[in-house]
């Protein structure tokens, strides 16, 4: 490529040490070198635009503090949901709202896989196809285990709720154990399985969790298919809003990076380094709300229980759930699925604390009428 008069160097620190540079754009990804580069840029009084969600989610508090001291901007729109200007919506457009919860399909690879699995295909087969198509990395862990989504959710939650970045305290469950069977049965119950990042602000702390989730098929987010992303943001004034579009790809990322550069340049032109606080809240308004443990999370649940075909087994299951205060919304058991004396029982519960659910599942798995492990997938109604 002919760069013309644009200076080129193989040493990244040449850029941050060049006095003629105003804005450093960091697109290298990862933690160590990126962190060193960004902090050096900030210390040298340069604004930074980055697409590095991992860096912000893990080292953001430190980076923002350094930037605040140096009076420079660190912008990261491209790090969250790629080309969708959702950070701008959360930090600026929703400024009047107390944001109650955020939920998003924020990893395109995972959404592509779950979408394809609706045709009855196995996870491993679709993953291989996604790798062949270039949608998934050779090592797909970051995508399918939800780590990438957790990075983005951490940032969304902090800017939405005004709390410090706490990536390490979030809960992450991937989609590798989802089966076409569960997808099909969720559909029969009127639900679709999506890999969601969910953050909820509660009195006692925040929920911060990425896991496969049943959502009503009638909800707009259930209709977001393929590699596309969508983020639901619920504010106390406006209600539910949703932001949808390409969450990855060269041009979508470039779209967000350039919008950030324009924003920074407009700030510089008007003599102000940082117009909007990094996390949408002034540093002294950041609330030290902890991330709740998964046991304290509230959710509905889809359960798949393999029962021995004996009289009274349904009554026993219902009684265990009832003893733990868990109400059943739907139950499904089909004679046609009886095999080797075993029959799957599918249950959808109302919302309950995860602690109660853990105890019920432990008790259910101890019953002599139940075979093997109880499969559990969380469910949300978003109403």
């Amino acid at each position: 490529m002919d760069l013309g008069d644009v200076p080129f160097s193989t040493d990244i620190f040449d850029v941050v040490n060049d006095p003629s540079v105003d804005i450093v754009v960091e697109l290298i990804g990862g933690y160590d070198a990126a962190k060193e580069l960004v902090l050096a840029a900030v210390r040298n009084g340069k604004h930074v635009v980055t697409a590095n969600k991992a860096l912000i989610a893990v080292h953001g508090n430190e980076i923002f503090e350094a930037a605040d001291k140096a009076g420079v901007v660190v912008a990261y729109e491209a790090g969250v949901a790629g080309g969708i200007p959702v950070m701008k919506a959360v930090r600026e457009g929703m400024a009047a709202n107390r944001i109650d919860w955020i939920a998003g399909i924020i990893n395109g690879t995972g959404n592509y896989i779950l979408t394809e699995m609706r045709a009855g295909r196995e996870f491993s087969e679709v993953l291989k196809e996604a790798q062949d198509l270039g949608y998934a990395e050779a090592d797909p862990t970051f995508d399918v285990e939800g780590i990438d989504a957790a990075h983005k959710l951490t940032i969304l939650a902090s800017a939405g709720f005004g709390v410090p970045l706490q990536f390490e305290k979030g809960f992450t469950e991937g989609i590798s154990k989802i089966t076409p069977y569960d997808i099909a049965h969720a559909e029969l119950l009127g639900y679709r399985i999506k890999h969601l990042g969910i953050a909820r602000r509660r009195e006692d702390g925040i929920e911060l969790r990425v896991h496969p989730t049943l959502v009503p098929k009638s909800h707009l987010i259930a209709q977001v298919d393929g590699v596309l992303n969508a983020v639901l943001v619920d504010g106390d004034a406006v209600g539910q809003t949703m932001y949808y579009g390409p969450g990855a790809g060269d041009e979508a990322t470039a779209s967000a990076v350039i919008a950030d550069i324009v924003d920074v340049a407009r700030g510089v032109a008007c003599g102000s380094s940082q117009r909007v606080p990094y996390l949408g809240f002034e540093p002294d308004a950041i609330e030290e709300l902890d991330v709740l443990s998964m046991e304290d999370v509230q959710s509905a649940y889809y359960l798949r229980i393999t029962a021995l075909d004996r009289p009274g087994v349904l009554a026993k299951i219902a009684s265990v759930l009832s003893e733990h205060g868990i109400n059943i919304e739907s139950i499904m058991q089909k004679e046609s699925e009886l095999k080797d004396g075993r029959i799957p029982v599918i249950i959808l519960t109302h919302t309950v604390q995860e602690r109660q659910m853990n105890r019920s599942i432990e008790e259910l798995e101890g019953l002599s009428d139940i075979d093997g492990q109880v499969i559990r997938i969380r469910a949300e109604n978003f109403n």
Copy 2:
């Protein structure tokens, strides 16, 4: 209501003449008084935040010019799609993109009516219900004839494409002639009828039109039901993005108004009146692109033709369309719908210029085998 120490007056000009006022928030609606108030505020060096789409669509060029001269901001996020921060997305988030087209469900009343009509109910019946529920005004013209949507579309198009506001040149067709029959037959063809505002930037001008539109049921915007709004924005870098949420209501509007006030205040605090140009483009970058006449618009079409039940009539229809270069995508004629020797023929065409379609319809209506008028509803695939 106890206003405490907040000064109160019954003369709106007291506010714009008060030297202690920095920002005037105009929520009175309408043209004349609002225009006088806003221009007076601007001339007095006050920033303005307004939810008045009609004012901006019709008098925006004049108001923005005056504001530019006075060095103040006129912000209008609440005027377009209520609580959805879509103007921020178009003016700032998509700054890197050449926006190719914008399409939106931007009138909640119309969308509510079309949604309810899917159950087979007539327009007039649902309109009455919407009026009883307070979704529709006693005089529903602005909503159901698409004028309100045209105001919003005018603003979206100007900020999206960087062209002057040209409300008076847009095309507007309402939903009062849509029948449950056409809704049901569109569904059979895989389409849903939505009342859309569509703006497209073309080499020779811009398309600016509000009308009932068939959209593929599989497209996300087809799934937006009830009083909710959604705006699709297609940029050359990012591709299709969508912004969804409540387009009206006290609190949703307040959400956008307050976000604008925060924006203006942040600008004032950083010593700059206007960070982002009113229409997203610097005044000298505004392009004098004309609105194209409806005859020059390109669209696909749903046609309902009442044919006499005679041999060869389908061949005659097909031949008229073919002579005008119109290709048929789907055709549907059901023997069970034969009544009094007449049978409806439903045709979905490929994209063609409206001029060609007008000529074909004229010719079709002249055929002795065709009874009455040809019903025509435009269709878009958004792919």
